[in-house]
Amino acid sequence: MKKVTAPLTQDIIEELKTGDEVLISGVIYTMRDAAHARVADMLKKGQKPPFNLKNQIVYYCGPTPAKEGNVIGSCGPTTSSRMDSYTPLLLEHGLKGMIGKGERSVAVKDAITKHRAVYFSALGGLGAEYARHVLSSEIIAFPELGPEAIYRLEVKDFYAIVINDAEGNDFFVMNKYN
């Protein structure tokens, strides 16, 4: 199991290979459908996004509300393909990692290779388990979107598997069921 720190560095990315199981620790940002639409719009208009995307990892996740005394609610991954139309633009602006579940489009995979980034899958449907790995959580943008707001999460030993590495390998293609 490889240890990965977030935000990423190019050295870390280059060491990650498709199929690697990793434990991610550090800071990641949640973004799902609505937040992607807004951030993409800001980038197209030349505006600054709510956080600097450089070397960051975004996590496709819309958590349940935190109960009193807890940092966050359940927080597993959502389907990545819904973010496909926005991802190449975010990668152009310095994003280096994505965590979600399921396959990516050809355009996203090409952009991952071009920008030497990495796509991880977390384990879908394990929201309670993932909550244990979030040390702190703070809404940094779009609170009106509820679960679709951008949360800054500090995570520890967050389990994921490398699906698309910077070399263009794809776990799901290698696994040959598609």
Binding site: T64, P65, S74, E103, G127
Partner: protein, 279 residues
């Protein structure tokens, strides 16, 4: 005649929302544990045990099983021997609203065009049937979108036959792949018409994992064939390979037009959250 009040219905629905989101049905949990024991792939085995572990955490009542606590789908069977005092739709929706609120569950119901969240996880999807008896049976599913989005309906030609049915079901499961959170329960509705087939597929998901269709021996035969084929796709738990792609396939059939062959496939993720109560 026995009278059931709106309040009684709302309270029952509220309890279903809370329990469905924190406890897997016993049969689903048992099937996951058995699959974990039987998996040969180390990764697949590990993932299945993590799913079981996630359930242990969720049942403490703080964190729901999954952050996608679903859109609420409610099947109500009203016995002919009872009277509902009030509006059953309003009562169910009230129970859904208070259940999601009290449970701190995610509100995942939105306007389809503007995408504005309704803020209450209502309206629920409600199906009502009139049956014999003197009770009100309420079944609630917390249906997540990851698997629902990969479900499909196809109007086959009668000439496609059994082979065409099998091919469509397998193709739908293959396309569902990793993102729909396998191992699945696959509900297949065969026959009826454009709206019947999906409803049969959805209802099929309420059946026990271990049962088989006793009303239609062809359906039972297809369940067995389909399960074997699906589990040889090597999608595996959460798409990381292995022989556990589905825990069960449930087939329901209905007579159809001589010129039609509708087939619907409703995918249920491994977090097969549903619960039934009779009041």
């Amino acid at each position: 005649m026995r009278v059931i009040t709106e309040k009684k219905i709302s309270e029952a629905v509220e309890s279903l929302v809370l329990s469905a989101n924190h406890y897997l049905p016993y049969d689903a949990l048992k099937a996951l544990k058995e699959a974990a024991e039987n998996e040969k792939s180390k990764k697949a085995k590990g993932i299945l045990y993590k799913i079981v572990e996630n359930h242990k955490l969720a049942k403490k009542g703080v964190y729901p099983l999954c952050q996608d606590t679903g859109i609420a789908v409610v099947f109500a069977e009203i016995g002919s021997g009872i009277t509902i005092d009030g509006d059953i739709y309003a009562a169910i929706n009230k129970g859904v609203e208070t259940g999601y609120k009290k449970g701190g569950l995610r509100k995942s119901t939105a306007n389809p065009v503007t995408r504005g969240n309704t803020g209450t996880n209502t309206p629920a999807i409600i199906h009502i049937a009139l049956v014999k008896g003197s009770g009100l049976k309420l079944s609630l599913m917390a249906k997540g979108a990851g698997a629902e989005n990969k479900s499909a309906l196809k109007m086959l030609s009668p000439a496609d036959g059994e082979e065409g049915i099998i091919e469509f079901v397998i193709d739908t499961v293959r396309k569902a792949g990793a993102s729909a959170c396998p191992p699945f329960v696959v509900g297949a509705g065969i026959g009826g018409n454009f709206e019947t087939a999906p409803l049969l597929a959805k209802k099929a998901l309420l059946r026990d994992i271990g049962d088989k269709n006793t009303r239609d021996k062809n359906a039972a035969r297809l369940e067995k064939i389909l399960l074997e084929k699906i589990n040889s796709l090597n999608i595996g738990p959460l798409g990381f390979g292995g022989k556990t792609t589905a825990l069960a396939v449930k087939v329901e059939t209905h007579a159809c037009h001589i010129a039609s062959l509708p087939v619907a496939v409703n995918i249920q993720c491994h977090s097969a959250r549903h619960k039934t109560i009779t009041i």
